[in-house]
């Protein structure tokens, strides 16, 4: 992309456009989170009325027990798997929406894809429980159709967590991929084809690189929150539902240990940022 044409020099001209959004973020998010960051270095919370001092013990706690590392790794794996599934399901769907369907049908289906995530997350999870459990909808329907008997009891398992999360996040992928796929000029694809490129080659060399910003934005918007998710794992995962997000939640809900909870969250944030920055150059090369 020709960056040379874009404005040069200082931040000056950008300020009027940037200030309102970032000022809002500072007041509502960054200042509160800074307070939390401060708490993560304290032995006791100031409002508990006890004496406090500065410490690194909560960050050390992460490394001293294998528990948190194991869980963080499990959560990252969960995030990657969910992102991958969303891409596998969402990208082709976005492609069909952007390049095959036309007119009103396209607009209508597009909106239908987004609508489910306007419904309440908890209600959706409870509905999944209805579908996935033994004797639930999936089990009953499959056994009614299939000639042989199979027992399907996906509830309270790792696959159930994946299904619930993919369901919640796949619209993000469809949306962001659509935005970049729709912008690709047909002439480019036709040119590639007329020059003898196969469908697969066109997809790999022309469509994918051009759609990459959307695929990346979607992946980030899915991967990042999934790593810290706790509601879906807790309700759908049962015995297998303990993840990094759930142990952070416990520090706030089960015990009054905000310092440790905050420290664990900031470690999560750091790891996520490192993963994003490490993957950026690799992805850029693909592009």
């Amino acid at each position: 992309m020709a960056t040379s044409i874009r404005g040069r020099g200082g931040i000056g001209p950008a300020l009027p456009l940037l200030t309102p959004a970032y000022l809002w973020l500072v007041v509502a998010i960054f200042l509160p989170l800074s307070a939390m960051a401060l708490f993560s270095f304290m032995t006791e919370l100031p409002m508990s009325g006890r004496d406090w001092s500065l410490t690194l013990e909560h960050y050390a706690a992460f490394f001293s027990s294998g528990l948190y590392v194991t869980l963080l790794w499990a959560s990252i794996r969960l995030g990657l798997e969910v992102t991958l599934w969303c891409a596998i399901i969402g990208f082709p769907a976005a492609y069909v929406l952007a390049r095959v369907l036309k007119g009103r049908a396209r607009e209508a289906i597009f909106l239908l894809v987004i609508l489910p995530f306007w419904s309440n997350g908890l209600v959706r999870i409870f509905s999944w429980a209805m579908v996935l459990r033994e004797g639930g909808l999936l089990d009953t329907t499959l056994n009614a159709i299939l000639p042989f008997r199979i027992d399907i009891d996906l509830m309270y398992s790792y696959p159930a967590v994946i299904i619930g999360l993919v369901h919640s996040y796949v619209p993000y992928m469809v949306l962001t991929c659509y935005l970049t796929l729709q912008a690709i000029d047909n002439a480019l694809i036709e040119a590639a084809r007329s020059l003898g490129a196969s469908r697969l080659q066109t997809l790999r060399r022309v469509v994918l690189p051009l759609a990459m910003p959307g695929l990346l934005a979607g992946s980030v918007l899915i991967f990042v929150p999934v790593v810290g998710s706790f509601m879906e794992p807790r309700i759908l995962g049962g015995r297998t539902g303990t993840f990094y997000g759930t142990v952070i939640e416990d520090q706030f809900v089960a015990v009054f240990n905000w310092p440790l909870g905050a420290a664990l969250s900031f470690i999560l944030l750091a790891v996520v940022l490192v993963i994003l920055s490490l993957s950026a150059p690799i992805l850029r090369r693909v592009q």
Partner: protein, 351 residues
């Protein structure tokens, strides 16, 4: 939409002009949801009798209740606190002494509960006992011909994958203490507790967190047995007609006491006293038990007003039961953190 703008403007003005609460005749009550104080018929009867308008707010964990008290000084007039936490609320100066002379029904509360050291300090009363109950086990009647009597049924291979336990570190550890024959308030052999719980993990279907979870699972016949609260088991049976029976195992059960306190800064102490008095009144209690299902009242006259064969009177009042239950004592923050670490370790190991 102008509605919201108007509200926002009004709130902004109010915030800048005055810091004092503006709800004069309102009575703000903080409690679990669906736990007596928010029953519509009860609120209506109380409002009619006293003229105070009840506004309910809810919490989902004790920690959240404390946070709400800390960050909303002066907002709440009545708060329901598990007696094991009353001391902590007092240490943080969140609650004030109660003038029990203004609460006529206080005299009928059983002496041992009213005088509990958890609720009294320096001769002042900081909590009025309301109800008590058990964390015992409950069974799905469809899975048992006769109700089991021992806690060991949770480890029975026959129920593998159909056992539940609450996702709560303190409850889990204390359950383990009872299963390994120890005092829940003075666990000497933590390794025995861990061992018991580790061997329980393969039996577990899921960890429940709310009454609704339990009821849904038993309604769809997914579980046979699990830890449950006595009042909830009663409610499942009475209000929802679910096949649930409470079992108080011969090894014992954990008992807890819930009490009402008045937060510091309440601007309607008189209303709070009237509300607490109403909540421990026999008339309210009998209606609560019959219509909805409830734990056991701390008011002896209220329990005596129940039919003789009522579970809360016949079984819970049985001296033999009283002998084997253990009341929860306050737990220090350090113990709580330790329990949580053990519990998380166990849950991760179970995967």
């Amino acid at each position: 939409m102008t509605n919201l703008l108007g509200k926002l403007a009004a709130q902004a003005v109010l915030l800048s002009v005055c810091t004092v609460s503006v709800h004069a005749a309102e009575l703000h009550v903080l409690n679990w949801k669906g736990y007596g104080a928010d029953e519509p018929w009860a609120v209506e009867a109380f409002e009619k009798a006293t003229g105070h308008k009840v506004v309910n707010d809810f919490f989902n964990s004790e920690q959240e209740m404390l946070t709400k008290l800390r960050t909303n000084p002066g907002l709440y007039d009545v708060v329901m606190i598990n007696a094991a936490f009353t001391g902590q609320a007092l240490a943080e100066s969140l609650i004030q002494p109660i003038d029990t002379a203004k609460i006529p029904n206080y005299a009928d509360i059983s002496g041992e509960k009213a005088n509990s050291p958890m609720l009294n300090q320096d001769g002042k009363v900081y909590g009025v006992p309301w109800v008590w109950g058990l964390t015992a086990i409950a069974v799905n009647d469809k899975s048992f011909e006769t109700s089991p009597t021992s806690i060991s049924v949770m480890w029975d291979e026959a129920h593998k994958g159909r056992v539940v336990i609450r996702d709560d570190a303190v409850e889990a550890i204390q359950f383990g203490a009872i299963a390994s024959g120890q005092n829940i308030n003075d666990i000497k052999d933590m390794d025995a507790v861990k061992e018991k719980l580790t061997s329980l993990m393969p039996q577990i279907r899921t960890f429940w967190s709310s009454e609704n979870d339990w009821n849904q699972m038993v309604a769809s016949n997914q579980i046979d047995i699990g830890t449950y609260w006595s009042g909830s088991a009663d409610r499942a049976k009475t209000q929802f007609n679910l096949p649930v029976s409470l079992v108080i195992p011969e090894e014992g059960a954990v008992a807890w006491l819930d009490a009402f306190s008045i937060p510091v800064g309440s601007d309607n102490v008189e209303g709070a006293e009237a509300f607490i008095n109403y909540m421990i009144d026999p008339e309210f209690y009998v209606e609560w038990v019959t219509k909805v299902g409830a734990p056991v009242s701390a008011n002896e006259k209220a329990v005596a007003a129940l039919p003789e064969d009522a579970f809360n009177r016949a079984v819970m009042g049985d001296p033999k039961v009283a002998d084997r239950i253990q009341f929860q004592a306050p737990i220090t923050d350090e113990q709580r953190k330790e329990y949580l670490a053990i519990w998380q370790e166990l849950k991760v190991g179970a995967q």
